[in-house]
Symmetry: C2
Subunit: 194 residues, 2 copies
DNA sequence: CGTTTGCTTGAATTCTGTCAAAGCAGGTGG
DNA sequence: CCACCTGCTTTGACAGAATTCAAGCAAACG
């Protein structure tokens, strides 16, 4: 059951996990299944649980006064889900995270993190590597929104993360890209004409 | 000379630096002064040096085919400068970083990082803490551009980082915020009318 | 079968970028 | 000391892009 997860971690780290470390992972991460529309986290809650998406799809978003969802992240197989800021600082989260389809995860709690994972060198290295990759992607997203047209960003997303387009409807993708669903639809229509 | 820098690091870490660690810092970080307009890094170069801004101002940016600068980061006193992606992966950087005014820094090289700093627990912790804070800020920037108007983002920047407006002219700030200098000027004019 | 969900399209409006021109310092060199 | 640059800001006119509001349609679902 943990095989793919262990293999994934080994792909990130510079040296493979020892048997001992694998045991630690198996005891620290518990299997959790989210039904469609089930919350992993709600705004105002402190994020006490984070984890790895084995299979499924979640969205992370805020809701403004008008009730509109603003998608900040889309999370699918082999991604991590959780609000790290809230988790680390023990502060209420600004985000909702919920399952857009039935989702299987390996999760760990703040207690397990504090007592076990945070002392493990392999886990510190993993966190550092993931954090760096995440930072690089976020920087690219900012740069892309500042320099590229809506159409270019859409095409780039289609190339980089085609799975998003299988899992999520267009209005979700549009919000993630910072545009309305109408704009996304029109971009598509214009591109098709050429 | 290193006092403020050591104090800064102690403010980040959970436990204060030992005398030994302070000595390591003093030998690993060297003082460097950049003249106005001097490059810390140019596009296409591998970033072999990164560091802490003691005093001064730098901008990190790309240049498009039309020759237009696109500012991705502004770096002033008590910030860190360098392209971590290039530094870590040993790949050519996509960015320029140059001093907008005379700038004093404490820098470390890739060699020093590999041989010394990367093995120091205190430095790993520091990197992790800084990386996390950086990530939180980047996420907020993305969310702000997707949900707030140009005027709101400008006002928020004025509140959060007033020093930017002392150090940099408006056309640099505008680029950082992803708008043209004309738009920024008009936002100001409209806001003043009310 | 009716309801929900997602997608498209149109028209009007607002916002932003582009291009061009002009003004306004501050600093430099003659 | 003055004239001239250079860097920065502002303004206007116009074009283009994106949002909003509204309506309609198709597919999926219970």
């Amino acid at each position: 059951m943990y095989d793919n997860f262990i293999a994934y971690i080994n792909r990130q780290l510079t040296k493979p996990l020892t048997e001992e470390e694998i045991e630690i992972i198996k005891s620290a991460f518990t299997y959790k299944k989210l039904r469609k529309h089930q919350y992993l986290l709600q705004e105002g809650e402190v994020c006490k649980m984070a984890g790895f998406v084995i299979k499924g799809a979640l969205k992370q978003y805020t809701i403004d006064k008008a009730g509109k969802e603003n998608i900040i992240a889309l999370l699918i197989d082999n991604w991590w889900a959780g609000d790290r800021e809230s988790f680390v600082k023990d502060e209420p989260s600004a985000f909702y995270i919920d399952a857009f389809e039935e989702t299987e995860m390996f999760v760990f709690t703040k207690n397990v993190y504090n007592e076990t994972l945070s002392h493990q060198p392999f886990f510190k290295e993993l966190l550092m590597i993931l954090s760096e990759k995440h930072t690089f992607r976020l920087l690219k997203r900012i740069h892309a929104t500042n320099t590229q047209t809506a159409e270019q960003r859409l095409m780039e997303l289609e190339n980089s993360y085609p799975a998003f387009f299988q899992k999520f409807p267009q209005h979700i993708i549009a919000s993630y890209l910072g545009m309305t669903k109408e704009t996304l639809s029109r971009i598509r229509a214009n591109a098709a004409k050429r």
